[in-house]
C-alpha cells in the first residue's frame, strides 16, 4: 500500500476523531458514566461493565465511520501504526480509542472526567456565592475545634457542679451535727428541705420547655439543682425526689452545652440541615446511608436492600440523572459554540448559561450538604433548649459522620486543586 494512501487515511481518521460525530457521543458517555469512578486504589465491579459498554460504543462508531469512508480494518491499522501517527499531538487524539483495549487508561479517563465535572460544579458555586463555602476550602478543621470546645465546657460545668455540691454537703453536715443530737425534728426539717429541692426540680423541668433561656443562668441553676438534688439523696427518706433532681440536671446540663456549639457552627446549622436534624435524625441517617451506598458504587446487589432503601436509591438516582442532564445541556450548549477546534480538549466557557445555573448549584449544595445559604446569618448564641438527652446523642453521631464527610470533601477539593494546577 502506498505511503500517501495511509497518510490520507490517517488524516481522515484524525479528522473524524475530532468531529462532533465522534466527540459528542463519546463525551456524553464519559460524562454520563463517570460518577462512580473515584480515585480509590480498588476498582469497583461496575467499572468493568461500563468499560464493556464503552467498547461497544467505540466499536460501533468506528465501524460506521469506516463504512462511510470506505476503508477496511487493515487500512485503518496501517494508517494508525504509520510513523505519522506516532506524534505526541496525535497521542491524545487516539487515547479514547486505545482506552477500549486498556482498562487502566479508560479508568483514568473516567476519573479525570469525574473530577472535571466536580470542578465545574465548584466553580458554579463560587460564581453564585462569591466564595466557596467553608467546608469546600481547606483551613482549620472546624469540627475538632468545636468538639474540643464542647468538651471544655462540659468539664467546666461538671467541675462547678461538683464544687457546689461539695459546698452544700459540708454545709449540710455541719447543720446535721448541730441539730442531730438535740431533737428528732431534724428529720422533718430534712423532709422540708427535700420538698424544697423537689419543688425546684419540678419548676426547672417546667422551665425546660421554653426555647429561649439564657445559657449562663441555666447552667448555674442546673448545677444548683445538682447540689440540692444530691443533698436530698443523702436523706434516705426521699428517693424519688433525688431521682427527679438529677434527671432535671441531666436535661439541663446537656442543652446548655449544646447551645454555644451550635451557634459557633455555621457549616452545620445551614437551614436545610438544621431542619433535617430537628425533624428526625432518622431521615438524616438514612440519607447518609444512601449517600454511602452511592459512593460504594452499588457494589451490593440492588435486590439485597430493603424496599425503602431501594425507593430512596431510585429517588436519588433520578435526582442525580436530572442534575446530570442539566449539566449536559449546559455542556452541549458550550460545545455548540465551540465546535470548530477539538472540542474535547477545549476548555468550557467560564460563564455558564443562566438557565441551568440554579440547578447546578442546587446539586452542588446538595452534594455538599453543609454549605450554608449565603444570606442567612448564623443563629443567635442563645441555646435551643430542651432536646431530650437521646436527641443530643444522635446529634453527636451525626457530627462524627459529618466530620468524616467533611474530611473526604476536603480531600477531594485538594485533589481537584492539585489536578488543576498540574494541567
Amino acid at each position: 500500500m502506498a505511503e500517501d494512501d495511509s497518510e490520507w487515511v490517517l488524516e481522515s481518521i484524525v479528522g473524524y476523531l475530532g468531529s462532533p460525530e465522534w466527540v459528542v457521543p463519546v463525551t456524553d458517555f464519559l460524562e454520563n458514566k463517570c460518577t462512580v469512578f473515584d480515585d480509590e486504589d480498588e476498582n469497583k465491579l461496575a467499572y468493568t461493565e461500563i468499560h464493556e459498554q464503552y467498547k461497544k460504543l467505540v466499536e460501533k462508531l468506528l465501524e460506521n465511520y469506516m463504512q462511510e469512508v470506505g476503508i477496511n480494518e487493515q487500512q485503518f491499522l496501517d494508517a494508525c501504526t504509520s510513523p505519522f501517527a506516532k506524534s505526541k499531538a496525535l497521542e491524545a487524539v487516539f487515547q479514547p480509542v486505545l482506552a477500549t483495549d486498556d482498562f487502566q487508561m479508560f479508568r483514568s479517563l473516567m476519573v479525570h472526567k469525574n473530577m472535571e465535572l466536580q470542578l465545574q460544579a465548584l466553580r458554579v458555586i463560587k460564581e453564585r456565592n462569591g466564595a466557596l463555602p467553608e467546608c469546600l476550602t481547606d483551613g482549620v478543621d472546624v469540627m475538632t475545634e468545636l468538639q474540643q470546645q464542647e468538651m471544655k465546657i462540659l468539664q467546666e460545668v461538671l467541675k462547678k457542679s461538683k464544687e457546689e455540691y461539695d459546698e452544700e454537703m459540708s454545709r449540710r453536715l455541719l447543720l446535721e451535727k448541730e441539730v442531730g443530737s438535740t431533737s428528732s425534728g431534724c428529720s422533718s426539717k430534712l423532709m422540708a428541705e427535700c420538698d424544697e429541692a423537689k419543688n425546684t426540680a419540678s419548676a426547672l423541668s417546667q422551665h425546660i420547655s421554653p426555647a429561649k433561656v439564657n445559657s449562663n443562668p441555666v447552667r448555674k441553676e442546673g448545677s444548683k439543682t445538682a447540689a440540692t438534688g444530691g443533698g436530698a439523696e443523702r436523706s434516705s427518706s426521699s428517693k424519688p425526689t433525688s431521682d427527679r433532681g438529677s434527671d432535671a440536671v441531666g436535661a439541663r446540663v446537656l442543652p446548655a452545652v449544646r447551645g454555644p456549639v451550635k451557634s459557633a457552627e455555621p457549616s452545620i446549622s445551614s437551614s436545610r440541615h438544621a431542619g433535617e436534624q430537628s425533624n428526625s435524625s432518622q431521615t438524616t441517617s438514612e440519607a447518609w446511608l444512601e449517600e454511602a451506598h452511592r459512593e460504594a458504587g452499588f457494589s451490593k446487589p440492588y435486590t439485597e436492600l430493603s424496599t425503602s432503601q431501594q425507593e430512596q436509591l431510585q429517588q436519588r438516582a433520578a435526582y442525580l440523572r436530572q442534575q446530570r442532564d442539566k449539566l449536559h445541556a449546559l455542556r452541549k450548549e458550550q460545545q455548540k459554540t465551540k465546535q470548530s477546534s477539538l472540542p474535547e480538549e477545549a476548555p468550557s466557557s467560564p460563564t455558564p448559561a443562566p438557565s441551568t445555573t440554579p440547578e447546578a448549584v442546587g446539586q452542588s449544595q446538595r452534594n455538599g450538604a453543609c454549605s450554608p445559604p449565603p444570606t442567612s446569618p448564623p443563629p443567635p448564641p442563645t441555646p435551643h433548649c430542651a432536646p431530650p438527652a437521646q436527641h443530643s446523642s444522635n446529634q453527636k453521631e451525626i457530627s462524627a459522620e459529618e466530620k468524616k464527610k467533611l474530611e473526604k470533601r476536603k480531600h477531594l477539593a485538594d485533589k481537584l486543586k492539585e489536578e488543576v494546577i498540574k494541567k
Partner: protein, 187 residues
Amino acid sequence: MGEAQKGLLSVIEKLKGSTEQEVRIVLLGLDNAGKTTLLKSLASEDVNTITPTQGFNIKSVASHGMKLNVWDIGGQRKIRPFWKKYLENTDLLIYVIDSADKKRFEETGLELSELVDEENLKGVPLLIFANKQDLATASPASEIAEGLNLHTYRDREWQIQACSAVSGEGVQDGMNWICNNIVNKKK
C-alpha cells in the same frame, strides 16, 4: 492468543503496538486466601493494610522483559459470579489457597474445578499458590495438590507453589515459573 477478540477491537489491540510483551494474569481464590496480599507483594508494596476486596485490583509488574498485568478479583461468595467476566484473553491463571483453612479445602476445590471448565480458560496455564505457609497449621503443598486432584489435569500446564505472601517466601519462585511458561507458550 488474541484470536478471542474479533473484528475492530482486535485491530485496536494491535494498534497499541507496544514494544513490551504484555501478559494478562488473573488472580483468583476464595475470600481471605491472600490474593490481594500476594498482588501487593508482587508489586513490592506494603502488605499490612489490606482489607477484603469488594471489587478488583490491577497491578502491572515488569518481569523478564514482559509486562505482567495482574488482575486480582475479590473472592467473597457474592462476587464469585463476576469472575467469569474477567477471564477473556487470560494468558495465565493464578489460584490462591489458604493452606491453613482446611475446613474450606472442599469449597476451594469446587471453585477451581468450575474455573478450569470455563471456555475462556481452556489450555491456560495454572499456577496454584499454597499460601500462608508461615502458619504452623498450614498443610504442605503436596497434600493440597493431592486433594485437588491436580495430577488429573492433562490439558494444561500447572504448578503448585508453596508460599507466604506476607513474608514473600516462594512468591518469586512462582513468578519464575510463570515467566518461563509464558515465554515457552508465546514463542
